[in-house]
């Protein structure tokens, strides 16, 4: 019996260890995970050099896990999508968006279709997709869920469930591309940046997959930081992080996102996302 009590004490001891001085960040898992790991470990090295504070990246399995880690102060900085960023900042008082990609204020979602669906590219919303099989990306994604769902509801006046034969959540943009490419789903909604990246990587067979519609632009990805970071790492730390992110010039680092550069951001840039999320009932 003693053994077990000691064991319990050990477990508690392990978990209450607090690493006070490490600056930790995470990112939403929107693409292939091994690619993310490589990309953000490089970012960690870069930030550590710029900030002279020990910096670490931790991988998470879902968008919600990224938000929770941010909320629980297990990470102080995060690379969020539009929706996850809005959610996270709502939950952590004083937290703010400090940077976004150059392309992020005018982000787009592509609706892509497999040849077998018979759908053709169009300028207006292609209503012919009703009754097909359709996949979103992650449940918590902006470009893979929120915006496409918003446009689907607007066009049909019905929830996606009622519009399509079958609705799936692939989990990530790379996965959406793969599923439509293989024909497992006839139509999918995907982040335009990831689509282009997969296209360049030769992972899309253009004889089989085509873009049938592009959404109007909307604000998306952002770096957000907790409000109490200055207290923990010293005055002006938040500003230094912002400077380091915006000052990122190494093309190797930027290409992996892929973004041309990072620019400043403020919370209210993402107000349209919050409004849309409220409108379709994803945020109370």
């Amino acid at each position: 019996m003693k053994k077990f009590i000691m064991l319990a004490a050990l477990i508690l001891g392990f978990t209450s260890q607090i690493q006070a001085t490490e600056f930790v960040f995470t990112a939403i898992p929107d693409q292939d995970e091994s690619a993310l790991k490589k990309r953000f470990n490089k970012i960690a090295v870069y930030l550590e050099k710029e900030l002279s504070v020990k910096t670490k990246y931790i991988p998470v399995k879902s968008y919600a896990a990224a938000v929770t880690a941010f909320r629980n102060n297990q990470v102080q900085l995060a690379w969020f999508g539009g929706l996850s960023g809005v959610r996270a900042r709502q939950l952590v008082k004083g937290s703010k968006a400090i940077a976004q990609g150059f392309e992020d204020p005018f982000f787009e979602t592509y609706f892509i279709a497999h040849k077998s669906s018979g759908l053709k590219p169009s300028l207006s919303f292609p209503k012919g997709m009703a009754g097909k099989t359709f996949t979103f990306g992650s449940k918590g994604s902006t470009s893979g869920r929120l915006m496409p769902e918003f446009h689907i509801r607007k066009a049909f006046g019905k929830t996606p469930d009622k519009v399509f034969k079958r609705v799936g959540f692939s989990g990530s943009h790379s996965r959406t591309v793969a599923l439509v490419n293989s024909g497992a789903y006839e139509v999918g909604a995907v982040n335009f940046k990831v689509y282009k990246k997969e296209l360049n990587a030769g992972k899309i067979d253009q004889k089989k997959v085509s873009i049938i519609w592009k959404t109007p632009g909307y604000p998306d990805y952002n770096w957000s930081i907790r409000g109490d970071t200055d207290k923990k790492f010293g005055k002006g730390f938040t500003n230094r992080v912002q400077k380091a992110l915006i000052g990122m010039k190494d093309p190797v680092l930027l290409r992996s996102f892929p973004r041309k550069s990072f620019i400043k951001a403020v919370n209210k840039d993402f107000k349209p996302i919050l409004d849309t999320a409220r409108e379709i009932g994803l945020i109370d």
Binding site: K3, L7, L10, F14, T15, K61, S62, K139, S174
Partner: protein, 435 residues
């Protein structure tokens, strides 16, 4: 390694608390509490603890320890109840309860307890691997990553590691190695980030309160109405469709399990096959039943898209392999006339009627298990209750998640009671050596 560490610590903790609870199992409150904690699937527990403790070792260990405590408590209590009363009667009055328990009751059931805790460890390994799917660093984590990125050779390597792990449990888990393994498990636990009790407090006091009453000082009638409306919407839009799909899927899977297990059991029965082909049969069944149904379903769903079919296949194959194994063994002990018939006649006229009561008993016994698993498959995209729970967690709406989890648990308890009453009405006797 993490898979092992979580499984060992979780199961050890569960055995200990389960045993303590078993001793006081005659209190109704304890029984109800145990029924409730075991009705909630490990993955749901993990999702809850992720909110409280984050990605820490404690999340993994507790997600296994809590439901398993409930299961162990029930099984051990049943074992103790069925213990041979003779030594108890032989002891003079006035002996203290403690020594009565340790010297008269416990020795009689000890070997059963031991066997069962081994079996639990096997289940624990399976659960622990599956926990990776929600982000803990166990085999499931790498399995999912490998699959999603199309690294199929990694995938098969991981699966093989897993089979080896499970099939060799009895080799490395012995009385002498237990303390070593426990300590080793503590050492390899992943380093944990900061964890504060305020997170836990916030979760209970704030997050799981229904949204309308979360931020108000006093509860007034309009707010109560709003809460009722919130609850109603949740029930109509998510719980009811979820319940319906879960039950439909459970029943189809149950029927399919029945049919498949009748096909499977002859594979290992000495009535139908010689020793060599039986060995092959055994191997097939072991592989099918040690693959977690969650993993089978995951692979099939990725291939076929989210419909009920892959879920039915996964659930029925896994459970049929278990039942097939049990009734196959049972059929080996049947005594038939020397001039019995052969082949299909032997199967349908001699064997089947004799094993049928056992078959039904096991099938009803798995009913509750199948329901639990059906609910959880929702996380993979089939629209059972788990789908809505997962969505609620993805939307950071823990209030909804908790209501849905409670509904799932209550249904599970209901099915458990129903299956028990059906079994006792049919007077089906079974030795419960598996869960």
């Amino acid at each position: 390694m993490m898979t092992l560490a979580f499984a060992i610590l979780g199961v050890a903790l569960a055995n200990f608390t389960g045993f303590l609870l078993a001793v006081i199992f005659h209190y109704r409150a304890v029984r109800v509490a145990c029924a409730f904690v075991r009705a909630v699937h490990e993955l749901f527990w993990a999702l809850i603890f992720l909110q409280i403790f984050g990605l820490t070792a404690l999340t993994g260990v507790l997600a296994i320890a809590i439901p398993y405590s409930g299961i162990c408590a029930k099984v051990y209590a049943e074992l103790l109840e069925e213990a041979d009363p003779a030594p108890m009667q032989a002891i003079p009055n006035g002996t203290s309860i403690v020594s009565l328990f340790f010297y008269a009751k416990l020795p009689g059931v000890w070997s059963n307890v031991k066997t069962y805790s081994f079996y639990r460890l096997e289940c624990g390994l399976r659960s622990s691997a599956v926990l990776g799917f929600v982000g803990l660093p166990t085999l499931g984590f790498y399995l999912e990553t490998a699959y999603k990125e199309g690294l199929y050779s990694d995938l098969s390597a991981l699966l093989i590691v897993f089979y080896v792990l499970i099939s060799t449990v009895r080799k490395w888990m012995r009385r002498e190695t237990i303390p070593v393994l426990l300590i080793a498990a503590c050492v390899v636990l992943p380093e944990s980030g900061a964890m504060t009790w305020s997170n836990a407090w916030r979760f209970f006091a704030h997050d799981i309160m229904p949204t309308p009453i979360r931020n108000v000082e006093t509860i007034t009638i309009p707010i109560m109405l709003e809460t009722w409306f919130w609850f109603q919407t949740l029930i109509l839009n998510e719980a009811l469709p979820g319940i319906l799909n879960t039950i439909v899927l459970t029943m189809i899977a149950l029927a399919a399990t029945g049919i498949l297990s009748l096909l499977f059991f002859p594979l290992i029965s000495s009535l139908f096959f010689g020793p060599k082909s039986r060995l092959a049969g055994h191997t097939i069944l072991v592989v099918i039943r040690s693959t977690p149904e969650y993993v089978i379903a995951f692979v099939l769903l990725q291939l076929l898209g989210p419909s009920m079919f892959p879920a039915v296949v996964a659930l029925s194959f896994h459970n049929a392999a278990i039942i097939g194994h049990l009734i196959g063994n049972f059929s080996n002990h049947l005594r038939l006339r020397p001039d019995r018939s052969k082949g299909i006649n032997l199967y349908s006229y001699e064997t089947l009627p004799r094993i049928y009561p056992q078959f039904l008993a096991f099938l009803f016994y798995r009913w509750e298990v199948i329901f639990r698993e059906t609910a959880i498959l929702g996380i993979l995209g089939v629209k059972t209750l788990g789908f809505f729970v997962d969505s609620a967690f993805a939307d950071i709406r823990f209030d909804r998640a908790i209501v849905l989890i409670i509904i799932t648990a209550l249904l599970n308890i209901f099915i458990d009671i129903l299956s028990r009453s059906i079994r006792s009405r049919l007077r089906l006797q079974t030795s419960l050596d598996t869960h």
